[in-house]
């Protein structure tokens, strides 16, 4: 009997799909349920931010950076603004640095809550952990609304400091949030971390060894989950991170469960950081006076920050004018999916969804 003609199924896990975290397309070749070949296709959300940036002044680009990684716009602002300060040589007052670190760490908690919630949602837990995570994230967005009037696209930081000091009712609200959060985090963790179904579904799935991660320029929780202890806040401390003591969690095997666990423990570290910042934030000005149209001297500068997704860097080249000659963004989400193809091949369709979910990319940053 001639062997039956078996054809692999080519399936478009297309730009419109419940768990691609935005408009990302995976052209997957299946043999039954197992993945044979994967080709990521992106660019559906490409707005040409780098070309737009060349036509705008240095402060107007701050509103552009919010829209890149729309789940962590505070870290985007921080990265861009520190790059401009390095370029134009602007000093930042103490109090502004403390407020920047507090808001960046709050943004990290919000982004990690979102990542954990959606990973559990992809696992099929019918949005219950997602709702608990979003309930906490709502409280962080309310804090941001107190700081800068917006919840998602904040554009709160300016070259030279922070736009506006925190209102008096911000500090008690922040204190209650910091006191409550560990309790709710334990609750969510109890629900997930020793759940046998979660363990069987995520343990040992989507492995990434430390050599592969380094060679693939992976940064952020994904790199730390593979055992590589590398975090810009410790390796290349910016703002006031060198004064704070917190430790960097790492994973053991580099599988989906470790990526989830690293993000989880990082949230607890962020709470510790915020507590220290609240304790010793000094009084004083929050912004050094900079003209509306900054004209930095001719030259270039690269500043990078540990955003929730990884190392987010801005490379600014200035020709002395009021807008940058070239503004390149080193986007962590864009580079973290380089090894996606090697991580997916051989796994089943359900694993493909969780491995991709555990990388935690945001399409605004991938396509810029």
């Amino acid at each position: 009997m001639p062997d039956p003609k078996v054809e692999p199924v080519i399936l478009n896990i297309g730009p419109q799909h419940p768990s691609t975290h935005g408009v990302f397309r995976l052209r997957v070749t299946f043999d039954g349920e197992t993945v044979v070949d994967v080709e990521p296709i992106m660019g559906y959300l490409h707005r040409g931010s780098e070309k737009l940036a060349e036509g705008r002044t240095y402060v107007q680009i701050v509103t552009l950076t919010d829209r890149m990684d729309y789940t962590a716009s505070m870290s985007n602002n921080l990265a861009y603004v520190s790059s401009v300060e390095k370029l134009a040589g602007i000093a930042v007052p103490e109090r502004a640095q403390y407020i920047r670190v507090i808001s960046a760490e709050l943004q990290r908690i919000a982004s990690h809550l979102m990542a954990t919630g959606f990973l559990l949602n992809d696992l099929g837990a019918l949005a219950t952990p997602l709702m608990y995570c979003f309930r906490e994230r709502e409280r962080i967005l309310d804090l941001f609304e107190m700081l800068c009037g917006a919840r998602i696209t904040l554009s709160y930081m300016r070259p030279g400091g922070v736009l506006q000091d925190a209102p008096p009712e911000f500090w008690p609200a922040l204190n209650t949030f910091i006191q409550d959060l560990p309790g709710y985090l334990d609750e969510i963790e109890n629900m997930i971390s020793d759940n046998e179904i979660v363990l069987t579904r995520t343990r040992g799935v989507g492995l990434l060894t430390d050599a592969q991660a380094i060679n693939g320029s992976i940064t952020g929780p994904m790199l730390r989950a593979s055992g590589v202890q590398w975090d810009l806040r410790k390796a290349h401390p910016y703002e006031i991170y060198d004064r704070l003591d917190f430790d960097i969690p790492i994973g053991a095997l580099g599988d989906t469960f470790d990526r989830y666990m690293v993000r989880y423990t990082e949230m607890r570290e962020s709470v510790k950081i915020i507590e220290q910042c609240i304790r010793d934030i000094p009084e004083g000005p929050i912004r050094t006076a900079t003209p509306f149209f900054i004209r930095p001297p001719v030259g270039e500068a690269y500043a990078s920050v540990e955003s929730p997704k990884g190392e987010l860097g801005f490379y600014l080249v200035s020709d002395g004018g009021i807008s940058p000659y070239r503004c390149h963004v080193r986007a962590p989400s864009f580079i973290n999916i380089t090894t996606l193809r090697d991580m997916l091949i051989g796994w089943k369709m359900s694993d493909l969804i969780i491995i991709f979910g555990s990388i935690d990319i945001v399409l605004g940053e991938v396509d810029r």
């Binding site: 490409h46 592969q212 380094i214 320029s217 590589v228 860097g313 070239r326 390149h328 580079i335 380089t338």
Partner: protein, 160 residues
């Protein structure tokens, strides 16, 4: 802190193993000829005292008469970094050897530079446009790219 190695210090090391690659080097970065990118990258990656095992980013900047490629390298074990630059002159049919064989992380970034800047990378496994669709005319991030920038709004839209 991540220590930035002095350009001259790295340049001398490169000259020993890949003669003639270095054009000049200043305080922050090392400038090398486009043809020698692959050999220099190989050396920097293999050498065990420098050990640049991590490629932070690959960027291209359009300086009208020439394109400058900026490789930002980092050694995680000894926590130091270096910037390697190389200029290729001319506007069209620019080709530069690809470093994907050494650092897999450069794969998407080089495709993005080809897609938006128009610099071809020889030896890249599948050099295709990554952000724009295949039939897109021209490379938008070039300074001389004048897109069909009709206003964001056509007049007839306004009275809709």
């Amino acid at each position: 802190m991540t220590r930035r190695l002095l350009g001259s210090e790295v340049a001398s090391r490169i000259n020993e193993s890949v003669p003639g690659a270095v054009i000049d080097s200043n305080q922050t970065d090392v400038r090398i000829t486009p043809a020698s990118i692959l050999d220099v990258a190989n050396f920097l990656n293999q050498d065990d005292t420098l050990d640049f095992s991590f490629l932070t980013s690959v960027t291209a900047v359009d300086y009208i008469e020439s394109f400058e490629l900026v490789y930002r390298l980092l050694s995680m074990r000894n926590n130091h970094s270096v910037i390697i630059k190389s200029r290729c002159y001319g506007r069209d049919e620019l080709a530069v050897p690809s470093v994907v064989s050494i650092w897999q992380g450069a794969d998407f970034q080089e495709r993005e530079i080809w897609d938006l800047m128009g610099i071809r990378f020889d030896g890249h496994p599948n050099l295709k446009r990554i952000l724009l669709w295949e039939g897109f005319p021209g490379h938008p991030l070039r300074k001389d790219y004048l897109g069909q920038d009709e206003g964001l709004h056509r007049p007839e839209d306004i009275d809709a």
